[in-house]
Structures are given as structure tokens and as C-alpha cells.
Point group: C2
């Protein structure tokens, strides 16, 4: 009554073999879709499998084949805020959904920076066939070295060019920033500021680069730059600093939606209306964007698709596919909402 009896009900491959009147090797072949088995035998074995409700034991399989059929997702952020951020949520979701169609299992590792040693051991211990590393910060590319012992795919490009030999998938931040800014330009805005991200985060750097490209292309001033840390508060503060410069501003590109919304309040304080006085474009198309007042024009980077793509690339890597490019960039598309409008002539 009190012991957990080992599930004697779990049929083994051997039982299936006996039931089907073949050898264990053959059953194994069928289970693994080996092409070299007669159709008849396949049917026979499958019947036995169904009758017995056989499910292969993953540990045994993994021990014998030296593959785990599992991949790790490492979230090195300060754990406390990991899931608050829609960015992470969506990535996880994209990964999970992609994996649902495969035989792979997802192991979630929240590696607080201090525990990253434990994490390393885990990854090197043959627990997973590969790992996905996601972070907003670039420092977390400290995992890079592990790439030698196990396939690794990063979400977001590495900041450091010397680490350019790691695999990553990233939104096309440069192009996204360019398109966002061009939209402002096309609407007749001529004094366009940016609230950029921290200088050590590739996403921020790249979006800034896109903004600059667009402005230079239109021969407009590209000196209206302030930095935030992607939080709404920092967006509001950056906006105040921009306004304090005394230069009239009629367009704003914020490197993410949260800062854009923060900027809203600073603009409001200053008696400026959005989009009339200042048109605003954000980035991310997170769930606050459509419900902001006014709804925010932004760049959609489909984080979910990014997660799926990361999983896809990793699996190809695990399968030894040599043709996978180091960098995969996902297209960024503009989503126009009410925060931008043509400038009245």
C-alpha cells in the first residue's frame, strides 16, 4: 500500500519482439523507421506495438544511441523578470510549438548568472543534444565556448564581432529601424528623434543604426538621440531629455514599445499630442501596443516565430546539417496604427 511499485505494466521492446515473432533488432528498426524492413514485418510489429501499448524507454534509447532527443532552453536573465516580459514568453511559446511537431523534448533552465556553472555541467553532461540561449543582454554570450562541445543557437545576435562564429537567429533590427523611421519621413515628419536602447545591447544598437540610415538617406538631422533601458520609465525620462533640448520634434522612434508608451506620458506632460504634434513608432508589437492610447504604430518582430526558427536551426545542427547559415534574420514588418499621421501642411 505504501510503496510505489515499479510499473510492471510497461512492456519492453523484447515483449513486442516476442509478440510479433521477430527479433528485438527488427522491432528497433521499425520503431526507428529504418527503411530496410519488409512492409509485412512492419505491419506485424506495429500491430504488436499497438496491442501491447508499447512506448520506448527514452533513457535506454538515449544510452544506447548516445542521443537524448532533448534540448535545453537557457534563460540567463535575472529569473525574477523572465516571464513578465512578453519577449521571453513568446519565444518560449514559439519553441514549444515547433518542438511539439518533433520528437524533441524541451528542458527549461533558468540560469541565474551565479548558477551558470551548474548549467554548464548540465549541458556538458550529455543531458541534451543541444541548447537554445535567449537573453536581452549580450554578456550572456558567455555560453559561446560551450558551442564547441554541444550545438548552440542564440536568440539575438552577439554583440561582440569576435563571437561571430556562433549560430544565432535574430530579428532584422536594422531593417526594422529603417522602415519605422522611413514611415515617419514619408508622413512628412522632418525632426525625428530616437529613444534608443542601452549601447551594449545589439537590438538597441541595430535599431539605432536603422534609424540613422533612414535619416541620412533623407538628409535629415540624426542627432536627436537619447538612450533608455527598454523600460517605460526610462522612455519617459529620455523623452523629457529630448524635449529639454529645445529643438522642436515632430517624430519619434522608440527602440521598443514599452519606452514608446513611457514617452507618451512625457509628451502628454509637455502638452504635446500624439500623433498630431509628434508621431510615434515603437518596436516589438508587444501586447501593449494595440491597447495604448493612441494605439501604437510599431515594428512587428514576431518573437514567436523567432523561437520556432531557433528550434528549427538547432535541430538541423544536431542532425549534422552543414548548410545552416550562422545568422538567420527574421523579417521585421511595420504595423501602422494611430500613433502616426501625416503632418498637416
Amino acid at each position: 500500500m505504501s510503496q510505489r511499485i515499479p510499473t510492471s505494466t510497461a512492456p519492453t521492446l523484447e515483449a513486442v519482439a516476442a509478440r510479433a515473432g521477430v527479433s528485438r533488432a527488427t522491432v528497433s528498426r521499425v520503431v526507428n523507421n529504418s527503411p530496410k524492413v519488409t512492409d509485412e514485418v512492419v505491419a506485424l510489429v506495429n500491430a504488436a506495438i499497438d496491442e501491447l501499448g508499447y512506448v520506448p524507454n527514452r533513457a535506454a534509447r538515449s544510452l544506447a544511441s548516445r542521443r537524448t532527443q532533448a534540448i535545453a532552453l537557457i534563460l540567463p536573465e535575472s529569473a525574477a523578470k523572465v516571464f513578465d516580459d512578453p519577449f521571453f514568453s513568446n519565444i518560449v511559446q514559439g519553441i514549444a510549438l515547433h518542438l511539439a511537431d518533433t520528437e524533441y523534448t524541451l528542458s527549461l533552465l533558468i540560469a541565474s548568472e551565479t548558477a551558470s556553472d551548474k548549467t554548464r555541467r548540465y549541458l556538458r553532461g550529455g543531458n541534451v543534444d543541444g541548447a537554445l540561449v535567449v537573453s536581452h543582454h549580450s554578456g550572456d554570450h558567455s555560453y559561446t565556448r560551450l558551442g564547441a562541445s554541444i550545438p548552440l543557437v542564440f536568440g539575438g545576435r552577439p554583440l561582440n564581432p569576435s563571437e561571430t562564429d556562433s549560430y544565432f537567429v535574430d530579428a532584422d533590427n536594422v531593417e526594422g529601424g529603417r522602415v519605422a523611421t522611413q514611415h515617419l519621413i514619408d508622413a512628412g515628419r522632418t525632426s525625428i528623434a530616437i529613444i534608443s536602447g542601452p549601447g551594449d545591447m545589439p537590438a538597441g544598437v541595430d535599431r539605432l543604426a536603422g534609424w540613422r540610415t533612414a535619416l541620412r538617406g533623407a538628409r535629415l538631422d540624426d542627432s536627436l538621440v537619447e538612450h533608455g533601458d527598454f523600460s517605460p520609465q526610462s522612455g519617459a525620462e529620455a523623452m523629457r531629455r529630448l524635449l529639454a533640448r529645445g529643438v522642436p520634434i515632430d517624430g519619434l522612434f522608440a527602440a521598443n514599445d514599452q519606452m514608446a508608451v513611457g514617452a507618451y506620458s512625457a509628451l502628454h506632460e509637455a502638452g504635446l499630442s500624439v500623433p498630431h504634434d509628434v508621431s510615434v513608432v515603437g518596436f516589438d508589437n508587444d501586447k501593449y501596443a494595440p491597447t495604448a492610447t493612441p494605439p501604437l504604430t510599431t515594428v512587428n518582430q514576431s518573437t514567436e516565430r523567432m523561437g520556432a526558427k531557433m528550434a528549427e536551426v538547432l535541430i538541423r545542427l544536431i542532425d549534422g546539417d552543414e548548410s545552416v547559415p550562422r545568422a538567420t534574420r527574421l523579417p521585421a514588418e511595420l504595423v501602422v496604427r494611430a500613433s502616426t499621421s501625416r503632418r498637416a501642411e
Copy 2:
């Protein structure tokens, strides 16, 4: 160049044994903290482990010990919205953080209702030592049967009393509902309505029961009930129906924050002010609560702690702890904000 060479660098237990001059069994004992090993030998073995950078192979260990050191988290919701909901995000986080202190690994399973057969197979295939099942809906207790073959812990109590023999951890919704309502009563409110959840969701039912208990205790009318589906829209609609009854209402308890916020707009339409005319209490203390206008008084159910508790209970179950109670209820605490005020005399 093109093959993924098996990590020949991974030292085995045998190598450690040789290095330390002991048997493999002894190394195994040390690795597993067996009490019956001399301190000297332990030191010797650990030294060898460090020098070699030995990491036990999980598959082998699991095959031999018949334990996987992994647990599954099953999210049976329509996958699309799983991570949008802070409820899930926080639970996952709580689980992940708790597990970080253990030897257990978390496998994420997003089981779309249709795929639940694949999920069952997975769970029965000896892939995990136990599983956590989280859902807003009660139908998902369809996993209950699996409880016989593998330890299972549910998030949220089962709706059906016949399933009362499964393990679950839940917020104390009844008490939470009572406290929320009592707060309104204490503030001098005498006509207190509720926007409850769907009748088939335990959380809704329990919160309603708490509301009723408080009102009856104060001998107040408990007929002002309308149901919503936990969405803001449904909250607004339910509020309109309540107002349409023609009975003056000066207090409202909404079964979750999102419906409370929905009710805000309906009250606003009707020209009623919060908290002056109608004081409002929500439930969940989700992230919209503090930023609503006015900030919402609500019941905090600490979903993150719930996740952690679920993991804790499951692990105790896996360890054969017989003393774990079937039900674990987490205290719900009132968080007072500006949406409630004393009624002017």
C-alpha cells in the same frame, strides 16, 4: 570536419574509479551521497571527479535506477494563449525557480487538446518521474487517470468531487472571496454585487461561495450575481446587466482583475464613479491591477508561489512521502488600493 564526433572527452564513472583507485560502486556511492563511505575515500573520489571534470550521464543513471530526475509541466491550454496569460507565466516561473534548487529537470509539454494522446504516451513512457498539470479549465483533469501510473499534481482544484483523490494545490479562493467582500462590507457598502466566473470553473465557483459567505454573515442581499468568462469584455457586459436591474449598487466584487477593469468602463458609461459611488475589488492582483484607473483593490494569490508549491508537493510524492495532503491551499491576501473607499455617511 563534417561529422559530429562523439564527445570522447566525457569521462565515465569508470575513469574516475581508476583515477581514485577504488571500484566503480564506490564512486557511484560518493556521487549519490551514500552515507556509508569513509571520509577519506570521499575526498579521494571527489578529487578525481574534479580533476577529470566528471559529470554523470543522466541516461545511464536513469536506466539503472529507474528514475529520470525529470518532471513534466503540462499546459493543456490552447497553445496560442498559454504564455500571454500572466497566470501561466508566473506558475512556470515559480516551478522553474523551485526546481533550480533541486536535481530535477523541467520538461515543458504544451499539449493541445488533440495531442493529449501523444502526451499520455510520453508520460507513460518513463520519461519523467512525475508531472504537473496546469489549466484554467476543469475539463483538463482528464489527466486524472494517469495519476495511477505516475505522480501527478494539479494546479487548481478539480471541479468534480469524484476526482477528489488527486493531488492539487490551489489558491484559497473561498477565503479570498470572503475577505474581498468583507472589505467592502467593512467600508460601509451594503449593496454588493458580484461578477462571477463561469459556473464550470472551480476558481469562479469558490470565489462566489466566499462572497456569499461574507454577505450572509452580514445579513446582506446575496442575489446580485452575474457571470462573466474572465475577460474584460465579459466584465463590462456583466456590469451592464447588473446596473440594468435597477437596484442601486455600491460595491462590486469581480472574480478576476480583468473583469473588474471591464466593469470599470461599464460603470463609467453609467456615470458612476469608482470608488465613490461603487467600490470595486478584483482578484488575482495581476499586473494590470496597480495600473488601472483607479488602481484596483484586489486579492493577491501569488501564482508564482503556487507553482513552487506544486513542484514541492510533486517531489515529495515522487520521494514516496505518504504524508502529503491531497489539497494544499495557499493563503490569499487582500491588497488595498484606490478602488475601494469608505462610504460617505
